[in-house]
Symmetry: C2
Subunit: 431 residues, 2 copies
């Protein structure tokens, strides 16, 4: 049968959902041309029906999720509520009702993606989530399709625009973390409660999704080691800059023959690497594949219009299949399951800032601690002395060492009478 | 019916074809897992059957194209001969025989893509060409799918690794064009006959493909204005560097409400722009979309393994559809046809290097020529004087001006008695 339209049901009409509704209206003709028949926004779930939404006729607003999920005229459900519940339940019910689903929900996909995708496959519907990582940057589809012949070795990404904005400001202006955060909040780049961003939770969800797709092995966000940016100080940026490094919140996933490594933490990155130059709210994902070599994808990782670009790409894909009566049969390959390596076993170089008593023999004691923990020092630089307090600040760069050894050494250093304070410890990524 | 295998026919077993054959053998298990049944290399067209090819059993080699095109066990023909003929004819015959085709052939796709894609659609087979632009960088699929909801405004790309290598070497070492070319040839980055690369022909093919896909309007390579890199001198790099610019061979396509602009030429690019930092054999494609904003795709644009990555992505896509018995129905949207603007109407800023008589009044004469042609000068810098010849070299940067006016002004300048030589003229791209 010829389709008169493809019906869209929208779950959530906030910033992103409002953007989707607006663009569906604004670009109705071009989208219809692409699909071969119009896309029609049948209904949109909101909390408050009284408020009108640009792009959505008032009679299409509903506060009842069943009105969207049970409407037989809805072919594709677009979920942009965010957060785990009720989004996850709605997605499950939509799939169970035989509807295609497009979601921007990184939390639900990171935590429940494999199960939901299996459910979608059983029901022969699509569950697409291009918008869940990197906003409008094409990532999910390239990971699933264009890179399919590769064994991916490394994923190294800046995938949280809020923290990248804060770190760029700290670097550029010498602002403290608190001041840069306040500025990001004033500009709307950071939420009133910034925990999800500044503690790396958001980045860990996204990394879990990319690693799962890229390595064909389930990586749950709980398996991603996570450290936020709150402990970074102006001095770390100054010293890193002097040493030729930028500081970025990196999401890193690697695999070797035995295991997968997945971690989100601040890292020193050599200033001449492309990823070190990704500033402000921009995102970048760098991938190394055995065939393709190094690729970098760069763009705006958030915002209503970039996110709508990704959501509508998925919608157009599914709508075209619906119109042609084609089966949708996306396979999530999880045929290379591997354990995720514990952080204690991960090896990195690192930067360490220490405040020490400014007297003879202190270097020797510190060097002794490193030697006892099998950590090789690459350089030690005395940065600043506070004569009144008779203390000096020293910065140590090491060669690669096991995280467990490093943590033990940090403990031992903190126990030395000559060490006034372990100022900060930041891993160094060198590729 | 359950498929025992998906049959592949290979047209060409040179650098790229050899890479495809090798990876088909090397990754047979993983590729079979992806598709759900093995990919089998049924036959490979070569010129010389006597030479053996790693990854291809000798009894699968043939010198008869019909052996590939008429073999009913071949589902997917992979064309990696390059050049217009006989590649184009073979692709047409493969499509006519109801076979899917994967090609890396930018020349054939740029010149005949719309017709061939229409043919493929009639026969309900796929014609995929991810490898035709940017080697292993995902571009064609993102342009067709992930960016589908966008109106693209600008495409700005470094899509020829040979010329980017040469320009990077000229910039870095102060080498002449000839020396840098010889070095590129010695390293295998440039062909013995480098015309296709250094004259921008290869880049024009690729730009025509991207512009056609991105703007939904047919852009033929003959409509791409084209200027190579052979006239650039060491001095242009030095002066550009002093002014804060890099020199790149850019492929640029833009559209506005009336027309499309498509051109390949050397350009000054501000050093702090990401595209100015793309060095050596790397490629980068920057896209501005109305929803997504600015995106950048970066990676290796050539070489057997990156190209194989793209070819196999297409093969896997088609093979999965064949195995599932799914129809392949790729649509090339050409529903926004627009004229391509003549180069005379294009506006850019430009850099001009002139050798002039070193005497009073010369600046005034030059400024008069610019004024007569409605070109506004942004800055004039006297660079070097040759006292013995009583000449000086001056560099002029202008504001935006129509190409026709610029060319007329260049003619008038060349006719001034005080102008010894119009050294070089390079457009400036500012985004």
């Amino acid at each position: 049968v010829e389709r008169r339209f493809i019906g869209i049901g929208l779950l959530g009409v906030g910033g992103i959902g409002g953007g989707v509704a607006a663009v569906l209206a604004e670009k109705a003709a071009a989208l219809a041309e692409h699909v071969g028949c119009p896309l029609e926004l049948r209904c949109a779930l909101v909390r408050d029906r009284a408020r009108s939404r640009p792009g959505v006729p008032d009679d299409r607003l509903t506060t009842d999720p069943e009105a969207v999920l049970a409407d037989p005229a809805v072919d594709i459900v677009v979920e942009v509520l965010g957060g785990e519940e009720p989004a996850r339940t709605y997605i499950e019910r939509a799939l169970a009702a035989g509807k295609h689903v497009v979601t921007a929900n990184k939390e639900v996909i990171a935590k429940f993606g494999p199960g939901l995708l299996a459910r979608a496959r059983e029901r022969q519907v699509g569950l697409l989530f291009e918008a869940s990582v990197g906003g409008g940057i094409p990532l999910i589809a390239p990971f699933r399709r264009e890179l399919a012949a590769n064994d991916l070795l490394t994923i190294e990404a800046i995938i949280n625009g809020t923290t990248n904005y804060i770190l760029t400001e700290m670097d550029r202006t010498g602002a403290s973390f608190g001041d840069a955060l306040a500025q990001a909040q004033a500009l709307g780049y950071a939420e009133p409660d910034p925990t999800n961003d500044v503690e790396g939770i958001d980045a860990a969800y996204k990394l879990a999704i990319l690693a799962t797709l890229g390595f064909h092995s389930p990586v749950h966000p709980d398996q991603v080691y996570r450290e936020g940016i709150t402990r970074l100080s102006e001095r770390d940026f100054r010293y890193a800059g002097e040493l030729g490094y930028a500081i970025k919140l990196l999401a890193i996933a690697k695999q070797d023959a035995e295991a997968i490594e997945a971690r989100v933490h601040p890292a020193l990155v050599a200033q001449d690497l492309p990823i070190a130059k990704v500033d402000g709210v921009f995102n970048a994902v760098q991938v190394d594949g055995d065939l393709v070599g190094r690729l970098l994808f760069f763009g705006r990782g958030a915002g209503p219009r970039p996110t709508t670009s990704a959501i509508l790409a998925d919608v157009l894909d599914l709508a075209s299949a619906v119109r042609r009566g084609q089966a949708v049969n996306h396979v999530l390959r999880l045929d290379r399951p591997k354990p995720v390596r514990s952080m204690a076993e991960v090896q990195t170089r690192f930067y360490l800032r220490l405040s020490v008593a400014d007297r003879p023999g202190v270097f020797a004691q510190i060097a002794q601690v490193f030697a006892e923990h099998q950590i090789s020092i690459a350089s030690v630089i005395q940065k600043e002395s506070d004569e009144s307090a008779q203390t000096a600040e020293i910065v140590i760069m090491t060669h690669r060492a096991r995280e467990a050894s490093v943590q033990a050494a940090l403990g031992a250093l903190a126990g030395l009478p000559a060490v006034v304070e372990v100022g900060n410890f930041v891993r160094v990524e060198s590729q």
